[in-house]
């Protein structure tokens, strides 16, 4: 995996959409706080569509928007 991770494609995290404010710790990516799950899904989809990006749903409920 180490070798593979150094190969293209490289991923860039564009945004993180979370339901918990305390998980917004900074970084270069856009970090957004959603009030509820419905809003979180809509925000994620809107950004992903606009940026033509992929979405990862993390086990803790946060969404990551990443682009190859």
């Amino acid at each position: 995996m180490g070798r593979e991770s150094s190969e293209r494609p490289t991923y860039t995290i564009l945004a993180i959409i979370t339901l918990k404010k305390e998980r917004i710790l900074g970084g270069s990516q856009l970090a957004l706080w959603a009030e509820n799950e419905e809003q979180q899904k809509t925000m994620t989809q809107d950004i992903a569509k606009a940026m033509k990006a992929d979405v990862v749903k993390m086990k803790n409920g946060d969404y990551l928007i990443i682009r190859v």
Partner: protein, 303 residues
């Protein structure tokens, strides 16, 4: 004035050898399922370089026969020219990388470029042996000279074509359709985790409904090394995307327990047989190949 003009015998040698050599290049331009090079310009470029290679091979024997030994050094020029063909091919394919559905990868590009270089040597060797045969036969009937030269050239072409023919993934592994399963936002194929990039419901539904997957299973334990190579998997993925197109998403994943490789995507044309065929016909890259029998030998270096 007339002694400065090339003799008829030599002219026959040069023309026959050049035609047979160029024909050898023309016969080795493939338009197969990989669709490369398909375009008229691609054909023309390779036919012309093949013609140049064949001409160089054809004039070597007449040059020697007229004691023009220095002229044979132009074969060194040929080598340089072929290397340039390889370089040009490599640059051209690398330039296209960002426009393809999936990357070919450096290992695959290197393999393709080497093949193009090698095929110019085909033209050179075939035309050289054709010329040599005509010179050796040296019959008073032109037709016998031409026929013998052409036949020898074609036999040589057949032999070197067989010699340079590589293996494909279908020779070393079984390729079967895989069962796609989406658990929440995670994608599994035949129970093998592939990706968690299906974070939205749309993505999960799309993959579940339209996704295609194949699993590559190595026939022998040592074939796992070749299949595990990132460049090799990238090449297989590229061929898969080329064959059925990509609507969205394409992934490749390896499984360590049995060395299975998963290739999965959402295709434009949902035809699993086409996908299996494309993966099976992906060449085993030269840079990946390891000779298993050589690894086993115990000739030197071990007590």
């Amino acid at each position: 004035m007339k002694e400065n003009i090339i003799s008829t015998d030599h002219l026959i040698i040069i023309v026959t050898a050049t035609i047979v050599g160029t024909m050898a290049r023309a016969l080795t331009i493939k338009e197969d399922f990989r669709q490369y090079p398909t375009y008229p310009n691609g054909y023309l470029i390779h036919l012309v370089t093949g013609f140049v290679a064949a001409s160089l091979g054809a004039v070597a024997i007449p040059a020697l026969m007229t004691k023009n030994f220095v002229a044979v050094t132009f074969l060194a020029l040929a080598i340089q020219q072929f290397r340039d063909v390889r370089k040009a091919e490599k640059e051209s394919l690398k330039d296209l990388e960002n426009t393809e559905s999936a990357y070919r990868g450096d290992a695959y590009i290197d393999g393709i470029a080497k093949t193009f270089e090698a095929r110019n040597y085909f033209a050179l060797i075939v035309s050289f042996t054709t010329a040599l045969t005509i010179q050796l036969v040296d019959s008073k009937f032109i037709s016998i000279n031409v026929m013998s030269g052409t036949i020898t050239g074609l036999i040589v072409l057949y032999v070197i074509k067989r010699f340079s023919k590589g293996k494909t993934l279908g020779d070393i592994a079984d390729v079967k359709e895989g069962k796609i399963e989406v658990r929440e936002s995670e994608l599994f194929v035949d129970g093998i985790f592939v990706s968690n990039l299906l974070g939205t419901e749309n993505a999960a539904n799309m993959f579940q409904k339209e996704g295609l997957a194949v699993v590559i299973i190595p026939r022998e334990e040592h074939f796992r090394i070749a299949l595990d190579h990132y460049g090799q998997r990238q090449a297989a993925l590229f061929e898969a995307t080329r064959a059925v197109g990509v609507k969205r998403y394409h992934f490749t994943r390896k499984e360590y327990e049995k060395g299975k490789i998963v290739i999965t995507l959402v295709p434009i044309i949902k035809d699993v047989n086409k996908l299996i065929e494309a993966v099976k016909k992906t060449p085993v890259l030269e840079s990946v190949k390891k000779s298993h029998s050589v690894m086993d030998t115990n000739l030197f270096g071990r007590e």
